[in-house]
C-alpha cells in the first residue's frame, strides 16, 4: 500500500547523529521504502527517486520521502541551558508505529504494565484532562493530565501525583512533558521519534531531555529502556498489530482520522 499524502509529508528520524559517523554507509527503510544513507563530509540520503532531504536535529538524523515536506516541528526546550539529552537508541517493534504512539499517550496502562514504577493498582483512576489542537491545527495537546506515580522518574523518590502534558507533534512523534521533580515551573521531556518501516513494523528512537543532577546518563538510559521494553511486550501482542480505526477510540485515532491517514491502520468492523 502506498502511504497516504499526510503520512508521506513528514520528516522521520532514522537514527542518532552519532550512529552516522563520517565514512558511514548503510541501508535503511522508511514507509516500506529502501533508502541508502552515506556520510562523506556531509550526510546523504538516497531513495528510489534520487537524493532526499536530510537534516540533523534533536540528537537525530531526519529524512523525508516528500519533495515538499511539512517543516519539522519546534522543540525550544532543546535550546535550554542545563538540560541533559539521553538518546536510548533504535528499538524495533513488530507493530504499527501508530500503536506505539497510542500506547505512549495512554496513562491508564501505567499501573498494570509499569507496575511500581509509573503506577500502582490502588491508584488506577484516570481523571479528566483537556485536549486541544495546536496553533497550526496539525498538532494535538493533552493537558492537565494528572496521575499518581510511585517512581515517576529516575530522579524521583517516593510516590507523587505528577502532572503531564502530552504533545502529538506529528503522527509518528510524540512528546511527554512532565513536572520536573527538581525544578519548579519546568518540565522534563520524554519523547518518541518513530521510524515507520512497514505498516506493521517500526523502529522507535526515544530520548529524555531532563534537569537531573543525581543520575548518570546510563542510569537514565536504563530507566528509559526498562520502561519501553515493558511496553514492547504489549505492543507485539496486540491484535491486529495495525491500528484499528474506530470512532469510539480516543485521541490518537481521532487525530489519524482527521488527516485522512490510512497507511498502517486497519478497518475493524466491531470492537466490542
Amino acid at each position: 500500500m502506498t502511504p497516504d499524502p499526510f503520512t508521506l509529508s513528514h520528516w522521520y528520524a532514522i537514527g542518532r547523529i552519532e550512529d552516522f559517523p563520517n565514512g558511514y554507509k548503510g541501508e535503511h527503510r522508511i514507509l516500506s521504502t529502501d533508502i541508502a544513507v552515506s556520510h562523506h563530509g556531509e550526510l546523504n540520503v538516497t531513495g528510489p527517486e534520487g537524493s532526499m532531504g536530510v537534516q540533523t536535529r534533536y540528537g537525530h538524523v531526519w529524512t523525508t520521502l516528500s519533495r515538499d515536506p511539512r517543516p519539522l516541528y519546534n522543540m525550544p526546550e532543546f535550546e535550554e541551558e542545563g538540560r541533559r539529552l539521553v538518546t536510548a537508541g533504535a528499538i524495533a517493534v513488530r507493530c504499527s508505529g501508530l500503536r506505539a504512539v497510542e500506547n505512549f499517550l495512554d496513562m491508564a496502562h501505567f499501573p498494570f504494565v509499569h507496575t511500581g514504577i509509573l503506577g500502582v493498582e490502588e491508584h488506577a483512576e484516570v481523571e479528566k484532562y483537556d485536549v486541544s489542537m495546536g496553533a497550526a491545527g496539525d498538532e494535538i495537546w493533552a493537558t492537565k493530565c494528572r496521575f499518581f506515580q510511585p517512581m515517576a522518574a529516575a530522579a524521583a523518590e517516593g510516590g507523587q501525583v505528577i502532572e503531564y502534558r502530552y504533545r502529538v507533534a506529528h503522527p509518528y512523534s510524540t512528546i511527554l512533558y512532565k513536572t520536573c521533580p527538581l525544578r519548579d515551573g519546568h518540565w522534563d521531556l520524554i519523547g518518541l521519534f518513530i521510524q515507520p518501516t512497514e505498516e506493521d513494523e517500526c523502529i522507535v528512537h526515544s530520548f529524555v531531555l531532563v534537569f537531573d543532577e543525581h543520575n548518570t546518563d546510563t542510569d537514565l538510559l536504563h530507566f528509559q529502556q526498562n520502561i519501553f521494553l515493558q511496553d514492547r511486550m504489549v505492543l507485539e501482542n496486540q491484535v491486529p498489530n495495525k491500528l484499528p480505526i474506530d470512532p469510539r477510540w480516543e485521541m490518537p485515532t481521532r487525530a489519524v482520522k482527521s488527516h485522512g491517514v490510512t497507511w498502517s491502520t486497519t478497518r475493524f468492523e466491531k470492537v466490542a
Binding site: A108, A124, V271, A272
Partner: protein
Amino acid sequence: MDTDVSQVGWIPVALNNAVQAGSAIRVIAGTDDIALWRGKDGVAHAWENRCPHRGMRLSYGTVCGNRLRCLYHGWIYDGSGTCVAIPAHPDLTPPQTIKVRTYRCVEAGALIWISDEDNSAPAIDGHWTPCRSLHIEVAMPDLPEILKWTKVNSVRPLSTYAADVALPDQGRLILAVHPMGSKGAMLHCALPASARRDSLLSASHWLGELRSRIEQAAVV
C-alpha cells in the same frame, strides 16, 4: 477411519495439565488465536485471544479468582466473557456490550476441547492421564495419515482429531492432533489413568519417534 460427523467441530487444543488453575496460556486452533485459562475453581475457558478494548492478547492476562484480567489496562472479565470492571474509571459500570468472544470448552480424555458450534462434546470413557504434547513443524497431516507411520492393533475414532488406539508395545492410549495453520500442529498423547512413570516415558519416546517420521516425510 470412520469419523463421527457431529463431532468434527471439536478440536483438542491441549492436554488438561497445560493450563493450571489460576493461569492462562495461548493456543492456536486452525487460524484462531485463543486464550485458554482456568479459574481458581478449576473450570477451563477458551476465549478469543483479544481484549475488546485495545486488542491485547488475553493469554497474557492474570486470573483473579474466577475472572480474567487483561494485562494492558486491567479490564476484568467474568467467566461469561463480560467486562465487569474498568480500573481507569472505577465509578463506571461497564456496558454489557463489552464482551469477549468465547468458545465452548470441555474436558474429556485428559484433553481440553474447544468448539464454536453448538453440538455435543466428545464422549470418552474411562479415566486418563496427560502424557506429552509435541509440536510438529509441518502442516498437519490428518489422523489416519499419522497412524500409517506406526504399528497399531486397533483404532477407535473419538473425533476427527483424536482416536483411542492400541499399540503393540505401548498398549492403549489416546492420540490427538490439532492443526495450527501456518504454525504447524500439535500431537497430544494421553494414557490410562493407571499409567506410571515407565509407561509415560515409553509413550513419550514413541511419540517423539512418530513426530520425527512425520517431519522427515514432509521434508522428502
